[in-house]
Symmetry: C2
Subunit: 210 residues, 2 copies
């Protein structure tokens, strides 16, 4: 699979030592397993060290803290969502369809992540509550995707051009929140969320009419 | 001050004994003070009993649990927001202005509650996380306000009438979430939230154009 932009960025926050290193990959893999099984909060750096047979100090050569490992895993996970929505924005279909699909994919990917991989949900909530850089990167990636679709729709004459494009994009980003935010996703029934995502995408499309 | 609809509903969830009773008012007042100063989670029924000089058993004659007291306080607090948005919906101004004011008032009231009365924010998060009935009532009150404004706007020819009104109202309710949800309010700068609320209300108004 193509590495997502977010996956690449994962190699920056709180990480050190050689970027390409077998041990780094081992730590990431072990952390991914531990976080899925036991959850982020309940996993310690010692647990990871024991699992791959190295000392805590050795792990700290690659990651400055448990959070740095968490950010790497979180960036990989959110990177998969980013890949999916970037694919939507590049689809060879009308901008109108792409807006619809954006809401559809965001809610599906979120539900998949937060319901099927419940323990990874734990790390996403931590990321949001503690303001990890991965959350900012994810938000920016969503904004870039929205911007591309709106710009294409304006070029094709599908969408109005009077409103400043940045205002439109920021507003659309906000309307995605109920379907992208891990805490809000948790508080609603999946089927209800899907219906509401369609209602909101319809509202947004009416607002974009030329 | 006129009692809000939500304040009235507060006398139903988990409450018992005579509705009008000096002791009930004392318990509510003491709880309100304790929750503001120490927060909901850190206040026990014993703390309230000690403060007004009655036993826990006596308090349980009026409220079946600490949550029931919490729901009463939460309903009073959210009742103030409901009063404010109901006032917006009844204003003698265009439906367009009322939509703008709805977003403005929701974000202002939310910020006021969650920043100035930080400890009451604690109880709102509990209410959301544990799915208290007050949260459902608050959601319904917002939906009723939206419905009234949209129906008025359709009657006056300000808004389109093709889309089913229930779909429009549910979608607008979702777009209010980033400005009404206690956890989302906490995660953003107040000034940024206000600007985004304007951007979203503009998007919604474009979607309502006939």
């Amino acid at each position: 699979m193509r590495k997502s932009k977010n996956t690449d960025q994962a190699t920056t926050a709180g990480q050190r030592g050689p970027a390409e290193h077998e041990r780094r990959d081992q730590i990431i893999q072990s952390a991914d397993e531990h976080f899925r099984i036991y959850g982020y909060r309940k996993t310690s750096v010692s647990d990871l060290g024991k699992a791959i047979g190295v000392s805590n100090a050795y792990i700290y050569r690659f990651f400055e803290s448990k959070q740095a490992i968490g950010e790497a895993i979180c960036a990989m996970t959110l990177g998969r969502i980013v890949d999916a929505i970037q694919q939507v924005s590049n689809d060879k279909t009308s901008a109108t369809n792409r807006i619809r699909n954006l809401y559809k994919v965001i809610v599906e990917q979120g539900l998949n992540l937060f319901f099927n991989e419940k323990k990874l949900h734990d790390i996403a909530i931590c990321a949001v509550e503690e303001g990890w850089s991965t959350v900012r990167d994810y938000k920016q990636a969503k904004l870039d995707v929205i911007h591309k679709i709106i710009a294409d729709g304006r070029d094709m004459g599908e969408f109005e051009r009077k409103t400043p494009i940045d205002e439109v994009c920021v507003a659309i980003l906000e309307t995605l929140q109920p379907f992208a935010h891990p805490i809000l996703l948790q508080q609603n029934e999946p089927e209800i969320l899907k219906i509401r995502a369609v209602a909101v995408s319809n509202l947004v499309l009416r607002s974009l009419a030329p």
